[in-house]
Point group: C2
Chain length 335, copies 2
């Protein structure tokens, strides 16, 4: 089934190079994928020539306007009418593309998505979700920063959205849901999580496990971990920092003696496989939930391969069985 | 200089065995260290016989009463007057010991410490701090769970306490302080962190770096990372979970092929050194800050070696240059 994606070519630290390279890699992987690319033609045109596989697979829409990382969401809403990000989102809103991918300013991207893709009726705050590596495969974590101060009602709605996302994306019929807290005992935590637990437990459509702790995310105790955007963002980045530190320590240790060097040399295929398994690029691509369309956020600092993985999330969310259905699933859970 | 510590022998998952073993290991390391041990003599007496180095180095005070993990802080305050935890804390309050160590119920331990060791005047909420591994050595993180809902004023006081703790414990004259947030830009995050940043920046005794993100903790961007007890607890446990996952994946990968096995065999001294570096037992022992005495919390699931490391933190906090001074330093910063 053919999928059309719109790409904000100017989002991320190394745009547009990384975006075009990512599109080229994704074009090789997904045969029926085509792109609408938004950005300055004098920059993107020459890049497209480097990737023959993109020829006939993309349409370039010229714009010079860019939403940089220092633009506040309110500014992005008022101005920047011809920005690459806004035009890419509008392409989905107008039905020209099935999903949009951007590595740009998260706050602006979320604000514009809410306006142009429209919030799902009944969902008061959006959430950003991603499926990270865990002992049991993948764990969906949300919110990662869209809603930094969440009410119990918001957290309950995140549970609904996490359920819908995990059902489709992890292909689980009854994904288990954990609510992040400082302890697993019922009386733990502040009133917001206490009250949210009551709301989630009452909903018979959800499989509520109860409270989980920080180490349960990567232990894979539940399929979904629900938290506010402040805590989720800090947890995700803390985990990234830890993986980086362990990797650096290992590298340093192995290169500091002949035993380390020889051992590494012999086991290098194992290390490469292992490195691939914890490589954050393989988990790139977070979904904006709570809007009536598919908008995927790539990490701003990723490379071409990482961006192609985020495109893969968009393809999966936009194609076949999952087309438009996460939003519909969320809506049906509310009704 | 001789140090007397009081030990709650009945705190933690494998009490009293782990506590007595930890005391024995610490007794070997610190020559002038003696213990007051609180717990059931019929359980502890036979254990003491296993460790001849504890003979003449400890006094056993019998009590049968134990505060288990399901006891709420309010219950611990009302009843449990002869509990091992309460008696161990009272020993410090009455001047018989210079510091107390427990691996038991954190909420009860904190509540009892506040009552018997007394809060530092001007500090409205306590915090739990620990110095975790980072790229630059160690990073002090607080709060780890004492104050799950913190006001801007609380966070400012945590910055004062983190400054005092890092000055003494990391031996840094002007420790840099970061405030945990979802982004490093000034406009990021909710109003609590925004307002806290203003308070911390205004205090000329503190070296405020600004906002830091989750990955800055292990990157060692600042000497101290300040956050509320909810976020700090989740971040710490998320980091522990990540280290565990990476370790498990590495183990699994290396044992899955002959290349992995041989490489591991050759590089095994490197792996052992590396494992020691990320071993959470080496970072065991969190300090209760905001009370007028030294109370150290050990991880409940640690072993004898881990408990001896927590005892080491108590020794460092209670002896020589640091004796009583973290609390005094905090007080002088407030005045």
């Amino acid at each position: 089934m053919s999928v059309v994606l719109s790409l904000d070519a100017m989002g991320g630290d190394r745009a547009p190079d990384v975006v075009v390279e990512g599109a080229a890699l994704a074009a090789e992987k997904y045969r029926d994928l085509t792109f609408l690319i938004y950005g300055p033609s004098h920059q993107i045109g020459p890049l497209l020539h480097q990737y023959p596989q993109l020829k006939d697979r993309c349409t370039l829409y010229h714009t010079d306007e860019v939403i940089t990382n220092d633009v506040k969401p309110a500014q992005a809403l008022r101005g920047f009418k011809k920005s690459s990000m806004r035009l890419a989102i509008e392409a989905v809103a107008q039905g020209h593309a099935q999903a949009v991918v951007s590595a740009g300013n998260t706050g602006a991207y979320m604000a514009l998505s809410k306006i142009f893709l429209k919030s799902i009726p009944g969902i008061s705050r959006p959430a950003i979700a991603t499926a990270i590596l865990s002992q049991n495969g993948r764990t969906v974590v949300l919110d990662l920063g869209a809603t930094v101060a969440a009410t119990p009602e918001n957290l309950y709605q995140f549970a609904l959205m996490g359920h819908a996302f995990a059902s489709r994306y992890l292909h689980k019929k009854h994904p288990t849901i954990g609510l992040l807290n400082v302890g697993s005992e019922e009386q733990k935590g502040h009133s917001t999580v206490q009250d949210a637990a009551i709301l989630i437990r009452e909903d018979k459509n959800l499989t509520f496990y109860g409270f989980v702790e920080g180490d349960d995310i990567m232990a894979g105790t539940t399929d979904v971990v629900v938290t506010d955007g402040f805590t989720g963002n800090v947890a995700l980045k803390s985990m990234e920092g830890t993986a980086r530190l362990v990797k650096d320590l290992l590298k340093e240790s192995l290169s500091s003696s002949w035993r380390g060097k020889l051992g590494y040399l012999i086991a290098s295929p194992v290390f490469k496989k292992m490195q691939q398994k914890i490589d954050p690029r393989y988990y790139n691509g977070a979904a904006f939930l709570g809007v009536q369309g598919v908008a995927i956020k790539s990490h701003g600092g990723t490379d071409g391969f990482g961006f192609s993985v985020a495109i893969g999330v968009a393809v999966e969310m936009a194609s076949g069985a999952t087309q438009g259905t996460v939003a519909q699933d969320i809506q049906s859970l509310i009704e």
